[in-house]
Amino acid sequence: MLHTYPKRVVVIMLVLTAVVAVFPLWGPAVFGAQSDFLMEKLTLMLILALFAMSLDLLVGIVGLVSLGHALFFGLGAYTLALASPDFSPAAIWWMVPLVMLVSALAALVVGFLVIRTRGIFFIMTTLAFGQMLYYFVNTSRHTGGTDGVFIMFRPSVELGGAVLLDLDNPLTFFYLCLALVVVGYLFLRWLTRSFYGQVLDGIHDNEHRMEALGYATSHYKLVAFVISGVMASIAGMLAAMQYGFANPAQLGWHASGEVLMMLILGGMGTIFGPILGAFAYEILQHTFEHLTPHWPILMGLTIILAVLILPRGIAGLIIDPPSRARLAKSPLLRWLKPGQAAPTSEAVKPAASAPSREG
């Protein structure tokens, strides 16, 4: 059934979460002095995972490919940066609602205008809105132009004078990000398996039929757009805290494109796939950066290879691991080993038992 995955998905995700969660214990032993830097990297990956997940709701679940999602990421960052006082930390209790409100309003306005378009037009209009905000913050004096805005203090988490969380502590901040990824994941899983999610699946498969049934599909899409935008803005706010500044680069089309690649790498429409994609993308980039200054070439080749070998991303590999028979059939392997013909009897079987997709 749709959105139900084999048990191993849960097992793998739980193990990976545990490995990440206890990094502060094993990190120093393995990486030594590099450990602190790597934990910062890990925090960033968690933030990007949250960002990628939010986009998956749009791209993977509803089927709307947005090339302007960084708009909301950057909006979260800039809202935090501009609303924070210069000489004292802002209280998180009003900062988070403010960021959510600003991004929800922006998503409502942008969504209202773009949701009627489809396919390439949706891509272009979202891109256009993203670039509009990009050029605005890039040239406006109020947003610090190309330099962006620095954040002197991370928001405080206090209740009645008692400090609940010290976000300046990298360890605390790391666990906050981890917790938010887990919460975000559970929320999106609940959402996609709720009836609302089923309507989104229907829109993904056949929007015209949904209209004929009696659904106001644009309302459902708009709500998904807003939820996705708000989640992205929270990721952006966390990123701004992590970096200590909000920068135009955080909301350009480059950032939108990168997060889209994380989705492709991880596997769209699975929610857990984009988390893996975000980690895989960042780890690959980190590795290639150390190998060569021309790392974008390696990165590009890897993405192309990934699309060829894993059309459903890393998630597809976990949900439906390739059997030996299917591997033998794979055109890539046969091309690599032309001497070995595919064992026909074995290769035919799985194809015949697979559900037919006619009609």
Binding site: F195, D201, G202, D205, N206, A212, L213, G214, T217, P355
Partner: protein, 254 residues
């Protein structure tokens, strides 16, 4: 004479220079099966599309239970109780049979925020989805993904989905298209059974089932109504035989 459920007056739809539906007066009475016949390109599907709000008429009026509904969007028309199925198989392949019907049944839950209504209400709706499956004899396939079902079953699911929306009037565009003899007979039986609870408007090419099913028939040619009346009248009509049935019989027995 029973009440008129749906009525059109002077209904016209142009596509550029082409008049697909031309000044059509068309009545559907309550609890009848009304078949629309006509050669390809006669404007039958366009008429159904106008009635279901797929696109607005260029001219003319559509009245549903006394209220004008022309120009309303498809989703509004659907929620007024006019359900339709499409000529092409039009289901949600990744969802199960039951989920397909639930999706159809839940259009009455009240928009986006109705999605999160109480479980009690959802159960009521799901009950209707299950009943629709029962009527169409698909219960044993409830948890099969729609993509894994046979073509005939998918067509039946399409009818079940229309039923699940709790319509008063069903517009069925070639429900038996592409079905084998046995499946056609099965669906004919199914539609016959629906007749006492629903009003059916049906486009169908299979003459045997049309004559077996329909109470009244409207014959369309080139966008116009050639003749409309009880099945026996249409069967005996010279004009209809010349224009449509004649040609049909020639094709069948050269």
């Amino acid at each position: 004479m029973s009440d008129i459920m749906l009525q059109t007056r002077g209904l016209t739809r142009r596509f550029g220079g082409l008049v697909a539906v031309n000044d059509v007066d068309f009545d559907v009475r309550e609890n009848e099966i009304h078949a629309i016949l006509g050669p390809n390109g006669a404007g039958k599907s366009t008429l159904i599309n106008l009635l279901s709000g797929e696109f607005p008429p260029s001219e003319g009026e559509i009245r549903y239970r006394g209220r004008p509904i022309q120009g309303r969007k498809a989703r509004h028309v659907a929620r007024l109780g006019i359900g339709r199925s499409h000529q092409k198989t039009n289901i949600f392949p990744r969802l199960t049979c039951l989920q397909n019907c639930q999706l159809a049944a839940r259009i009455h839950m009240g928009g986006v925020f109705g999605s999160w209504r109480s479980r009690h209400q959802a159960r009521e709706v799901d009950e209707r989805a299950l009943q629709a499956l029962e009527t169409c004899r698909l219960v044993q396939r409830a948890h099969t993904p729609a993509s894994a079902m046979s073509y005939g079953e998918q067509r039946q699911l399409q009818i079940a989905m229309v039923l699940a929306t709790a319509p008063r009037l069903m517009l069925l565009d070639e429900p038996m298209a592409g079905m084998g003899r046995e499946e056609t007979a099965q669906v004919t039986e199914l539609l016959k059974g629906l007749a006492d609870r629903y009003t059916l408007v049906l486009i169908e090419h299979d003459m045997d089932s049309v004559f077996r099913l329909a109470d009244r028939i409207t014959v369309m040619v080139d966008g116009c109504v050639l003749e409309t009346g009880p099945t026996a009248q249409i069967r005996a009509s010279e004009r209809v035989r010349d224009v449509y049935l004649g040609r049909h019989h020639e094709e069948a027995h050269p």
